[in-house]
């Protein structure tokens, strides 16, 4: 069971605050000290990180934070995670309850990944299990990955105008394979709008990571 916030020590509260405030120089040494010297339960340190990322996500949704904060937050999380995860494994713990699965990738012909990575990060910190299958993903790879991973939502990303046709082809292949009823499809990227959504046959589009999270929450029945 996660330790309730009211039972956190002052230092634990401080870690959450520093992470949420982008104070990397102070936050990382403290997190490492918790894990390596003070032998704090690594799952608890990850809980503190998650609490900090909740604040980061809210500030992003409220327009206080932008991409640079998400990128730095993601990197701080990765750094702490790299230290904590071997300790979690050694202790034999780890399964985390999530709202559901999202598979995401950039469609074939397009190599852009920043938007996709931000959406992945935002879904992750909002409690979704996300599998990112990379860029320039062939149609068949999407189909194989969907069969194996069984996601509730598939996210197709693309920045170039050629991605309109790649998305249409990919979604068309989901229909042709008779698998479309098993999940919802959302699309996103620099040029995506309602015209492109209609053209590709996607269920919905989003113009930013907040909208992607809202779509997944809505489809999976998660309270806002």
């Amino acid at each position: 069971m996660a330790k309730p916030a009211e039972q956190w020590t002052d230092e634990e509260r401080q870690l959450v605050e520093w992470l949420a405030d982008m104070n990397e120089d102070d936050a990382l040494p403290l997190a490492k000290r918790f894990l390596l010297e003070d032998k704090v339960d690594p799952m608890h340190v990850l809980d503190l990180c998650r609490a900090a990322m909740d604040i980061v996500g809210k500030r992003f949704e409220e327009g206080e934070y932008f991409l640079p904060e998400l990128v730095l937050a993601g990197e701080m999380l990765d750094t702490i995670g790299a230290v904590a995860k071997p300790l979690v494994k050694a202790a034999g713990g780890g399964a985390v309850q999530t709202h559901g699965r999202v598979l995401i990738g950039t469609v074939h012909g397009d190599l852009h990944d920043i938007g996709k990575n931000i959406v992945t990060f935002m879904l992750d910190i909002n409690g979704f299990e996300v599998k990112d299958i990379g860029v320039d993903v062939p149609v068949q790879t999407f189909i194989d990955e969907i069969k194996a991973y069984q996601p509730s939502v598939v996210g197709l990303s693309g920045f170039l105008t050629l991605a309109f046709d790649s998305m249409k082809e990919t979604i068309g292949a989901f229909d042709a394979a008779g698998m479309r009823s098993g999940f919802k499809v959302m699309i996103g990227g620099g040029q995506i709008d309602e015209t492109v959504r209609a053209y590709t046959g996607a269920d919905a589009f989003g113009v930013n990571a907040v909208e992607a999270v809202a779509l997944c929450r809505d489809w999976m029945g998660v309270a806002q």
Binding site: P68, G109, I114, T161
Partner: protein, 430 residues
């Protein structure tokens, strides 16, 4: 003089008739009048694209990259058919495949090299300068370029990493210090660079010939040279997107110093290129200004100051900056308004043009912005309606609008939609 026939003008090898000259002058004046915030005789229409001329002319994107003759033909044909008032230097954006090969250029994949023959090029966003190299760049940019940056971004320059530090070559030290020039890898690099430069001369001569040919037919370029915002220069070509975003927290002071330095040599380069091209309008694609990319505070602290300084320097050199504000920059409008009136053309991609006109109408000419999704997947009737909407909302209300796509004509656009764009401009705005 006994000859009373109309004056013949030669533009390079091409004869420009008196009618073509008048048409050229009228078109160019439309662009300049807009920039001065004066009323032109009709709404000008621009033509910019990367690979759409190949789509139009039935050649592959790869041919547009590599074949000088085919590329020149399709890029002439699109101009001759649609009669734009200003044309982007179409070959400069695409036709350099052979030069890129010889340079072993690593920052881009292009048709025939890394992506398919019918796919557009893709920039490879990487860290081409490490965070710990800021000091090297700041201390001696040229040395950093020679020894580190150029060998990283183009294989032809690999041997230059072995060159000596030039500061320090003095008196007898000059004699001893030049020995690296005799190294086989340095010689090989120089040979490759010379071969690439000779190819670039052929590519450039072809571009000049095309400019003369469209000029003789009555069509001016909309811009001569290009430039870049200092922040985008460092983010795109040195630090990479995520590296740059982290630098806003980790290396903010050094980043600002580099931006200040970059603004100076970008301005020098831009002014020299514009003078060589004999064209006042400078195209500046803007990548990192969009509302979503950084906070208003970060924008005003990191992005805007060095760019504003660059624009003012260009204006003082009698140039007309024409930034293309990519994506949605609605929240930036009040900030980017801070420039002298009648000196710039602001091209907007996804920013609502009516809103841009409301905020900036008395400050800059506007360019754009038919949506790429409309141009590529819509019908000619929908394109017609979208042009009418811009004409009614901006042009008829006194806005100095140069009509164009949101970032020009997307590569996949069906030709009837381009025709609809040009026809609708004539139908609704002269």
């Amino acid at each position: 003089m006994s000859d009373t026939s109309p004056a013949r003008t030669m533009i390079g090898p091409y004869e420009q008739t008196a009618a073509a000259k008048a048409a050229y002058d009228a078109r160019f004046e439309r662009l300049l009048a807009c920039a001065r915030l004066e009323q032109p005789d009709r709404m000008p229409v621009a033509m910019q694209s990367f690979f759409w001329p190949a789509t139009y002319g039935g050649i592959t994107y790869k041919e547009l990259m590599y074949d000088y003759d085919k590329a020149k033909k399709v890029c002439f044909d699109v101009v001759a058919e649609f009669e734009p008032d200003g044309v982007y230097p179409l070959l400069m954006g695409t036709n350099m495949g052979r030069s890129l090969e010889l340079l072993d250029f690593k920052q881009l994949q292009w048709p025939g090299h890394g992506v398919g023959d019918m796919q557009p090029f893709q920039y490879l966003d990487r860290e081409y300068m490490k965070a710990e190299e800021y000091d090297d760049f700041l201390f001696d940019p040229t040395g950093f370029y020679l020894h580190t940056y150029l060998p990283r971004v183009a294989g032809a320059f690999a041997g230059l990493a072995k060159l000596p530090d030039f500061p320090g070559l003095h008196y007898f030290r000059l004699v001893g210090g030049i020995r690296p020039f005799a190294l086989p890898e340095v010689r090989e690099s120089f040979e490759q660079i010379v071969a690439a430069a000779e190819e670039t001369n052929r590519f450039f001569a072809n571009h000049v010939d095309w400019v003369q040919k469209i000029g003789a037919a009555g069509f001016p370029l909309i811009n001569g040279g290009n430039s870049i915002a200092p922040y985008d220069f460092i983010a795109d070509y040195f630090r990479g997107a995520t590296g740059m975003m982290k630098d806003l927290f980790r290396h903010k002071d050094k980043l600002k110093q580099v931006l200040d330095k970059a603004a100076v040599f970008i301005a020098r380069m831009t002014i020299a290129n514009a003078k060589a091209a004999q064209h006042p309008i400078v195209f500046i694609p803007i990548h990192w200004a969009p509302d979503a990319f950084m906070s208003p505070k970060q924008f005003e602290e990191f992005w805007w100051p060095s760019f504003r300084r660059l624009m003012i320097t260009l204006i003082e050199a009698d140039l007309i900056p024409m930034p293309l504000w990519e994506a949605d920059c609605t929240k930036r409008l009040e900030v980017i308004k801070d420039i002298p009136p009648g000196k710039c053309i602001y091209w907007f991609e996804r920013t609502d043009m009516l809103k841009a006109f409301e905020v900036l109408g008395d400050r800059v000419a506007l360019r754009g912005n038919l949506s790429p999704s409309l141009l590529t997947t819509g019908t000619p009737d929908q394109v017609d309606a979208a042009v009418k909407q811009l004409v009614d909302g901006v042009w008829r209300k006194g806005g100095k609008l140069i009509l164009d796509g949101a970032f020009g004509i997307p590569d996949e656009t069906p030709t009837p939609n381009v025709r609809a764009m040009f026809d609708a401009a004539r139908k609704y705005a002269g």
